[in-house]
Symmetry: C2
Subunit: 397 residues, 2 copies
């Protein structure tokens, strides 16, 4: 009698990203932290807004501790959900009620709960390459099939021809992630309209819903004032999965929400299934003090200046050295074409220059590397010579 | 194409406990909070130790916020795990390493992760009545069969005859919960020894492991200095699921751990499966600031005096009124025999006296009600006349 071997495998295979991160720590011990240019992890380097600290101090000092640290209702504290709804209504011109929100332990929880709530045997869920590798883990955990749409390597939008072929009568839904990890691309209004129109058509043809899950931890991390449309306004059968990890620099605190569009016909059933899935997966309630913390810090973000400066520095320098980079409108990732076909070999060669870059293979797309530039600007500056030398090595050969 | 109907059902059927709690809130609005005797929820009424508050203030004021609120490794911050291991080694004479610990978002997460890690198709998991109703939900979520051993109604230990019959070659493991919710009983050394001896015998007979999951949120809530043995010392194939919810009065903060006994033959594989299951279910890491908070508050508890006083008040008064009560050695529950066969009808009649008691049916055992006495002593005192009147109503008829 074995234990669950797929879980065992999942626990043993460390992700490529984590592996690189550990390698960087080992190198730092040998040659000094300042000489390692670690672009592996998407762990924000900018502190949370000062206001978050003030809220935490106020809550701990002034609130009744029994209530502050007590259970909230499973779907989240009512006042917190009211404030989140009001903030979204005001910022995006929505008219949602607190009762379409379900507070979660972060984006991963938002996704696993939503997928579990929707999943039936035989269902398929579509992801658009390049995509966050855990999507496949989360989809397959529910017993659904993960269908990958190959990347649009020209604009890093959606490869529409391949996308349309991926949808069939078994499609339960798709995951959209804009701004995108790992490409930094933001989906255009035109692409979104075409995608939603197509899905609506297919919903009619098959006579059942096709859900759009929009994974939005980077919603507020958009440069050049490029607006990201609120998806519930474009498509009825939308479920928004949000996290405060990146916008407020609280990744370890595990706080986010699920928003089930009240426009959908079977809203009550879908919301109930979300509550049921949260219960079955062992999420009793989202961390209570953090629920109350984010409720007083809605609509603000950490100072994104550092990320913008890093983006401009890297994009300008790397393109001048001859690299082909996707121009990132949002998030804090730069997606760079490898200087040889095999991105793993390229990333391996980059290590000679102490550059830690994640090969794109695990994102469902070959031939690129991802740089997480949520690092200090100082490190970015110090790393530029290494990128230049790496490019020159390829030019010489 | 439907959504996941079992999740939908789970979300729609509110637990009997939550229903009663909502009823209590509605009554309080009509007749005043002080006139409702709400014994429904196991939500601690005693504040966390003052030291917890001090730790939180220190962390928020003095620590680097990027690191304080950043991701920890998936299995938990290394220093935190080291401190938890040292505390357990010192208090229980163990020799565990930090690498057998996996920090979780509370007891429910500890259980769902562990069950998912172990589960294979066709497996059965045994629970001992009376038991926390979510055990069934968690076991069935993994696809395993939940096998219930009927209660030992004499001593609320383990009905050994029924227990022995429940074990077969499909048994993957059993869940033990001592001190017990809902009975407050603590398993005796003799019963534990007999149970473990029997399981060891069956492991040999079937040629495979039978895991013991010990769900221990009430470990430190034991009165009269009755020691609870650390189960890894009694049985090799033990996995401990712990939570700081009750001991430190932090139920909403979702912080606990899984301890996989390093004594088990396939420790590495089981620990890897726990890591894999945590990842698949969407638990990225346990809330980071809370990990660091509990690390500085190990081995201490909230002031349990209130619970002990409440227990004595209730047990003495109710037995003097003619109720038959299980003597609670631990936790903060009193399990009282209903004064008629149908516990639901009895609990319904108790409402006439504004007494909110949970019928035992959902705990896998008929004919009892559960009182959660983690309430103010003042409420306990005010409620005694109601218990007396309720008993008298039954004596009259």
């Amino acid at each position: 009698m074995a234990i669950n071997t797929s879980m065992e495998q999942l626990g043993k295979v460390r992700s490529a990203i984590r592996d690189l991160f550990e390698y960087g720590n080992a190198r730092a011990e040998i040659i000094g932290r300042e000489n390692v240019f670690d672009y592996s992890l998407g762990n924000p380097s900018v502190a949370p807004p000062e206001q978050v600290k003030e809220t935490l101090l106020r809550l701990v000092t002034e609130e009744d501790p029994v209530s502050l640290h007590g259970y909230t209702s499973a779907q989240g504290d009512k006042t917190v959900r009211l404030k989140v709804a009001e903030d979204l209504n005001q910022r995006y011109g929505l008219k949602i009620s607190p009762d379409c929100l379900y507070m979660t332990c972060g984006a991963a929880a938002s996704l696993t709960i939503t997928l579990k709530a929707l999943s039936c045997p035989g269902d398929e869920f579509v992801v658009i390459a390049p995509f966050f590798p855990e999507y496949r883990v989360f989809i397959e955990m529910t017993g659904m099939k993960c269908v990958v749409v190959p990347a649009d390597l020209e604009h890093f939008q959606i490869n529409m021809e391949a996308f349309k072929k991926s949808i069939n009568e078994h499609t339960k839904g798709i995951i959209l992630n804009s701004p995108n990890n790992p490409s930094g691309a933001v989906l255009s209004d035109e692409i979104l309209k075409e995608t939603m129109d197509f899905l609506r058509e297919k919903e009619k043809e098959y006579g059942h819903q096709i859900f759009v899950i929009t994974d939005e931890p980077y919603r507020e991390l958009v440069y050049d004032d490029r607006p990201v449309p609120f998806m519930t306004k474009l498509y009825r059968d939308t479920i928004v999965c949000y996290s405060f990890s990146k916008s407020l620099s609280l990744p370890g605190e595990r706080i986010g929400y699920i928003l089930v569009s009240e426009e959908m016909e079977n809203f009550g059933n879908v919301y109930a299934a979300v509550c049921g899935a949260g219960r079955a997966l062992g999420f009793v309630c989202a961390p209570s003090m953090l629920q109350k913390t984010i409720a007083d810090n809605l609509g603000i973000t950490s100072d994104l200046t550092t990320y913008r400066v890093n983006r401009d520095l890297l994009y300008d320098a790397l393109t001048s050295y001859g690299y082909d980079c996707v121009y990132p409108d949002g998030a804090f990732y730069l997606f760079v074409k490898a200087l040889e076909e095999d991105a793993k070999a390229f990333a391996e060669r980059a290590k000679k220059y102490e550059l830690l870059l994640v090969p794109s293979d695990s994102f469902g797309c070959t031939g690129y590397v991802r740089l997480a530039y949520c690092v200090s600007t100082d490190m970015v500056k110090r790393s530029l010579a290494a990128f230049k030398a790496l490019a020159e090595e390829y030019l010489k050969s």
